[in-house]
């Protein structure tokens, strides 16, 4: 008999771990404090832009993230196929651009990439060659292997096609206590805790990092792929979405504050996109989103395991980029029954 499993947290990680387990014939029950398709306000996973940028992330992240990201993209491709291409996943590459006065940031990114990769992973060419719409930026870096997942369309297809494969679904259920083999009064052989920031009380050296982003509708603006604008304080990106919409983000602030986006951050994000193209000036601000990224002190994901309980968390800024690989690692732990007193980082 395969162990019965409870997955707590139906964010991107919980959904992917469940996917691996169910495909392997496990009976899985899912607990989630929100509904099946929560608003971005209630879900870190649905706040995210869904970028798969393993190379660009090297600027601010450990090479481990790049490694996990590359493996995750391969897994995303399989998942995409599994769901009959029923959610938005693309690998059209990404473009990194910079204002002339921030050239130093671009040089630094090139240097870090050179340190980590022998083979070329980007092409340095005129920005207009890839994005004819963006003028006056000179040369940029185009990363052909990078891509995007659209979180909302993934959640939707998963709700529609996959939730029926679970043993039990406990949506809109606030879990009070998680222990080995136990979620409140429910008993299982194994409990997998992937609640993200909500697990804070149960984890050491763990905190939330505030991220703010804007959803803009600007039908005049045409972008082929997502664009990253080098910024001295945080990676700033513009991600094209269906219907002429764009996600513009994201700030990164060391505080656990969920209050609405600040005026300062709005100004920074908006002036950045306006500087990319004035046509953004005619756009409409559809909504602003604020959420807390769950992060360990080293900003790397971690799996903690004891008999009957696995905790996977710390996706930080890399939910869609690393969760397939992290989910696979959790699955391997379950499969090999190595889930006693191990910590993987």
């Amino acid at each position: 008999m395969k162990p019965t499993v409870a997955v707590v947290g139906a964010g991107i990680l919980g959904r992917l771990i469940s996917f691996f387990l169910i495909e392997d014939g496990h009976s899985v029950s899912l607990f989630e404090k929100n509904g099946q398709l929560p608003s971005a306000k209630d879900s870190c996973s649905l706040t995210a832009a869904g970028m798969l940028a393993p190379f660009c992330e090297l600027e601010y992240s450990d090479p481990l993230i790049t490694q996990m990201g590359l493996e995750s993209i391969a897994i995303w491709e399989k998942i995409h196929k599994y769901f009959d291409y029923g959610f938005h996943f693309e690998r059209k590459g990404s473009l990194v651009i910079t204002h002339p006065r921030d050239q130093a940031e671009l040089l630094k990114l090139k240097e870090i990439i050179k340190k980590n990769f022998k083979k070329p992973v980007y092409r340095e060419e005129e920005v207009t060659k890839f994005e004819p719409f963006i003028k006056g930026f000179g040369k940029g870096l185009y990363f052909p292997f990078e891509g995007l997942v659209d979180p909302e369309s993934f959640f939707k297809i998963y709700n529609e096609k996959y939730l029926n494969k679970f043993e039990n679904l406990y949506f809109n259920t606030k879990v009070e206590k998680i222990g080995p083999g136990r979620v409140d009064q429910h008993l299982f052989d194994l409990v997998i805790d992937c609640r993200g920031f909500a697990a804070k009380g149960d984890l050491k050296d763990f905190r939330g990092v505030r991220g703010e982003l804007l959803l803009i509708e600007a039908p005049e603006v045409k972008l082929n792929s997502f664009v990253r604008l080098m910024h001295p304080r945080y990676p700033l990106y513009v991600v094209p979405k269906p219907n002429g919409r764009f996600i513009v983000g994201a700030t990164s602030l060391e505080c656990e504050d969920l209050s609405p986006i600040s005026v300062r951050s709005s100004l920074e994000l908006l002036s950045a996109i306006y500087s990319i193209h004035p046509a953004f000036g005619e756009g409409r601000i559809i909504e602003s989103r604020v959420h807390l990224r769950p992060g360990f002190i080293d900003n790397l994901p971690k799996i903690e395991a004891e008999e009957g309980l696995i905790r996977a968390n710390g996706l930080y800024r890399h939910g869609y980029l690393v969760s397939p690989k992290l989910a696979q690692q959790v699955f391997n732990l379950v499969k090999e029954n190595r889930s006693s007193h191990a910590t993987f980082n």
Partner: protein, 257 residues
């Protein structure tokens, strides 16, 4: 060892705490560099009950020097300072009042005004200033017991733009502790500041955004120590001709012409 307002310190490196790849890298950079004073910004990251990042910094066994980075007026700076005193339980304050956003150049007029208010209110004010001599005088009159002239604009990594002015400032007030703050890009810049006789160097970007911040922090600690020892040992005066360091007895005198 040096003494700063009753604290006995070994390190002359003051580190900023923003823009590190992770809090852990920041912690390790502080530990490996031996830095004993860290600055932390209250604006932007403020809000919400109990900031875990601040709690982490408070738990480190180093002196926290809160700053008013991002403040553009006397009122903002004074309010931020009072918040800082509450949160970090210290009367130390790095006073920053920005006058020009592009260069992050401090506003000297507002700086003096804010310094006067805060010194009267019991703060130990560390003013972030340009290297202007008269400004220094006014800040000392306002009650500051330490000065923090810039090397060049914040985050520029340009190093010491005006060594002559910094040297003049140093020589004019030999008794006042002075820390060079901002614009330092490489360990050699920091060493140069110390050779000029400054008491310490404050920096952030050059460490935080390097490829290996922990190693870079250590590199700065070593260069600052080297510069300090060099200053104390008395640097040789420059000459415009060569003088052999080994005896040249035995060389025919006409060969030296």
């Amino acid at each position: 060892m040096w003494n700063l307002f009753g604290k006995s310190l070994k390190s002359r490196l003051l580190l900023g705490t923003s823009r590190y790849p992770s809090p852990e890298v920041l912690k390790n950079s502080i530990a490996f560099s031996g830095s004993e004073i860290i600055t932390v910004s209250l604006r932007r990251n403020s809000g919400g009950e109990g900031n875990p990042f601040w709690e982490m910094l408070n738990a480190l066994k180093v002196n926290v020097l809160p700053n008013t980075a991002g403040c553009h007026s006397v009122e903002e700076a004074v309010t931020t300072a009072q918040m800082a005193r509450e949160i970090f339980k210290t009367n130390w304050l790095k006073l920053e009042v920005i006058g020009d956003d592009y260069t992050l150049r401090p506003d000297p007029v507002a700086l003096v005004e804010a310094a006067e208010i805060l010194c009267k209110d019991g703060f130990e004010v560390f003013p972030y200033m340009t290297e202007d001599l008269v400004l220094a005088e006014k800040l000392l009159e306002a009650g500051c017991n330490i000065l923090m002239p810039w090397a060049s604009p914040i985050g520029s990594g340009q190093g010491i733009a005006n060594p002559f002015a910094l040297k003049t400032l140093r020589d004019k007030f030999p008794e006042v502790p002075m820390v060079v703050d901002a614009g330092i890009g490489s360990p050699s810049h920091a060493a140069f500041a110390m050779e000029l006789g400054f008491d310490g160097v404050l920096l952030n970007t050059a460490v935080a955004t390097s490829i290996d911040p922990v190693k870079m922090a250590r590199a700065f600690a070593l260069s600052i120590e080297g510069g300090r020892q060099g200053y104390l040992s008395g640097l040789m005066e420059k000459r415009d001709f060569a003088i052999p360091s080994t005896p040249v007895v035995g060389t025919p005198f006409w060969h030296n012409v």
